[in-house]
Amino acid sequence: MTDILNALALMSNYVFVPGLAYGSQLALGALGVTLIYSILRFSNFAHGDTMAFGAMLTILATWWLQSMGISAGPLPTALLALPIGIAGTVLFVIATDRMVYRYYRKVKAASIVTMMASVGVMFVMNGVVRVVIGPGEQRFADGERFIIKAREFKEMTGLAEGISIRTTQAITVLVTIIVVAMLFWFLQKSRTGKAMRAYADNEDLALLSGIDPDKVVLVAWIIAATLATIAGTLYGLDKSFKPFTYFQLLLPIFAAAIVGGIGNPLGAVAGGFIIAFSEMGFTYAYKRFVAYVTPGDWVPDGLLQLLSTDYKFAVSFVILVLVLLVRPTGIFRGKVL
């Protein structure tokens, strides 16, 4: 019995808890991608760098708050700085819409051209981030590091395996729940949210019934920038901030959005967790887990790792391809690109 509990604790500590946090981050990113896709109808390659940009502003604001001696006690100061980061990112993103994307909307350019423009925006944002904060790694998490330490858990339960929950992981999950709940409420209940869904569903009919397209687009960008900043900051808090890793997040984020069904917010959230848990599950070394659940002293030789951690991209990619082949609309019946 203790062996089973130990095995469960082991899995929770190394797969379930980190997967939950990572999945939340991916879900927030995928929500932004899916929203922009359903309203503006292009795949936004700049989304990863928008996350980096938002996280960078939040970090700068965090440093500024810290220099003034303000802190959030046991919580990371970055949470206080988040509104500043969001405001800055929203302004920047709206500026890119005015300067870049609006023109392509006006001439009704093919989605691939707009996508190309988003590559240009990606370069610009990437450059700005690297010039302002540098290409190196930044850590900005402060406050209490752990909610439960592995050692405390062991003492509490008497198990050999501990579960540690970092503050940043708990915050990530909590913030994601709040943000997603707010977003769903907004899309389902509010007038603007309904207008956005109508616009996403059928642009012509929406225009006919007097929905202001400029307002819908503006709100879509505001929400996407907010989600990107929150996702970027949470990812940076949980791991660390490095501009290049945000670019690499683009692949799992797109995979999450498509697997769930692009254009479908619920799908984006589900997709984020599917991708995260698959990555974790496939790259985890099951040696100790198997040792606990098998009777006797039978311990396997190898690490029992299905794939090396460096192949985590391959996991999201294979899931993506499988979904595209078997069910191109995604699990929750989104659109087909």
């Binding site: 691939i112 240009g120 990606m122 610009v124 690297r130 010039v131 670019f247 990619f317 595209l324 082949l325």
Partner: protein
């Protein structure tokens, strides 16, 4: 006429760089410009001829680089003795599993087919791992500081250019089979993924290309500077030109590469132009401009797309092998999508998509700007921040990261061209 002037201006830029910076530097840029131009030609075949949006250029270039290792590196007999059989056996096992899956897909139907496929995939994975893991471990334990891989064939590196093309074509066939039937956005994301996976494989499969330990023992395609400096005929030649032997040897090496690369570039350009003007080229453009109409005329669009995708990727692979040849080392860690994928895209768009000459000009111009911007970024930053206190942390921070201004510059160039001159510098006729 305008095009001649554009190319003349580009030539002038190289002369200016040679005069004011150094000839060696100017030639280094020129060589990379030539390689970039080949890559841009490859992308232009995909995008300009067929409208395929491939964001996995980095992966195909890296496959070319891996070809250079597998062709040129000296074979490691001990490693072959230790794990060669195992690797070959796992290769055979892989083929057998794939064959089994194909057989299941053909012969069975319904639910049974689905479950049989799943079982075959999972079972096959573990069977292959059973043979593969010990072989890899055996190979990687052979003198890991120096070899730890199977090595290559020990052939002259120049053969790898063709092999690189074949590797990239093979990779493209797999990707294309999966993703080309889908719409453009999916293809873009699929190619982005496959290029990351290729890099991950090259970084991790140490038995194949030594992974991040790099292969730096490649034999160059032309005599090295040291060899030239010791060769009597070269010393005489340098004396004739009244030049310093050390400087002259460096320039001679770079010139030799420039000649080789130019030959490849011209050959590919000639073939591309031929193809573009042939019935095949007209068909491709017809498919690009109106897919449905072309399909109605009985053209197999997916098949043609696959064909173009493979050809374009092969050209990129050739360029990737050329790059590794010039560096005389293979470093999987240096492949970065911004530089190897998206920068090439900027070249094609700026040069003029659909026009081969445009892609070449774009390749030259953008690489030149990319390199020079790294040098001029800090100078500009110095100018901008000249009013500030030289010790202020803001100024030092900005000065340190000024080289990254070039990313901003590239984005701005791409956006401006896309907006105001979407057909590029040399538009399609």
């Amino acid at each position: 006429m305008k095009n001649v002037i554009l190319f003349a201006l580009m030539g002038l830029a190289f002369i200016l760089a040679g005069e004011f910076q150094s000839w060696s530097f100017s030639l280094t840029i020129l060589n990379l410009c030539l390689i970039s131009a080949v890559m841009a030609l490859g992308v232009n075949i995909q995008w300009g001829y067929a409208g395929i949006f491939n964001v996995g250029i980095m992966g195909f270039a890296a496959l070319g680089g891996a070809a250079a290792v597998l062709v040129n590196a000296a074979p490691v007999p001990e490693a072959w003795a230790a794990g060669g059989v195992g690797i070959l056996a796992s290769g055979v096992a892989l083929l057998a599993v794939i064959g089994l899956i194909v057989l299941i897909r053909r012969k069975l139907s319904g639910q049974l087919r689905r479950y049989a496929t799943i079982i075959a995939v999972i079972g096959g994975f573990f069977v292959i791992r059973l043979v593969y893991d010990p072989a890899v471990e055996a190979i990687e334990s052979i003198d890991p500081a120096k070899t730890g891989f199977l090595g290559g064939l020990g052939l002259p590196i120049i053969f790898s250019w063709a092999v690189g093309g074949v590797f990239a074509a093979g990779g493209a066939w797999v990707v294309g089979k999966v993703a080309l039937g889908l719409r453009s956005d999916y293809l873009a994301i699929a190619t982005l993924g496959i290029s990351e996976i290729i890099i991950a494989i090259l970084k991790n499969e140490d038995w194949l290309t030594r992974g991040v330990k790099n292969v730096s023992t490649l034999k160059p395609a032309v005599p090295t500077a040291i060899e030239l400096q010791n060769a009597p005929w070269f010393q005489d030649l340098a004396a004739n030109f009244d030049a310093n032997v050390i400087v002259a040897s460096g320039i001679f090496v770079k010139l030799s590469y420039a000649v080789l690369f130019t030959i490849v570039l011209l050959l590919i350009l000639w073939l591309s132009e031929k193809a573009l003007k042939s019935p095949w080229g007209r068909m491709m453009r017809a498919i690009r401009d109106n897919r449905d109409a072309a399909q109605a005329m009985g053209k197999d669009v997916t098949r043609r797309h696959l064909q173009t995708f493979i050809i374009g990727s092969a050209v990129v692979g050739i360029a990737g092998a050329m790059l590794t040849t010039m560096d005389a080392q293979f470093t999987p860690g240096t492949y970065n999508p911004l530089r190897f994928t998206f920068l090439i895209w900027v070249m094609v768009i700026v040069g003029g998509s659909g026009n081969n000459w445009g892609s070449i000009l774009g390749g030259f111009l953008i690489w030149f700007v990319w390199i020079e911007a790294e040098r001029f970024g800090p100078l500009m930053m110095e100018l901008v921040t000249s009013g500030m206190d030289p010790e202020s942390p803001l100024r030092t921070n900005l000065m340190d990261s000024a080289a990254h201004l070039r990313l901003f510059l590239m984005g701005a160039i791409l956006l401006i061209v896309l907006r105001f001159s979407p057909r590029g510098l040399i538009p399609e006729k």
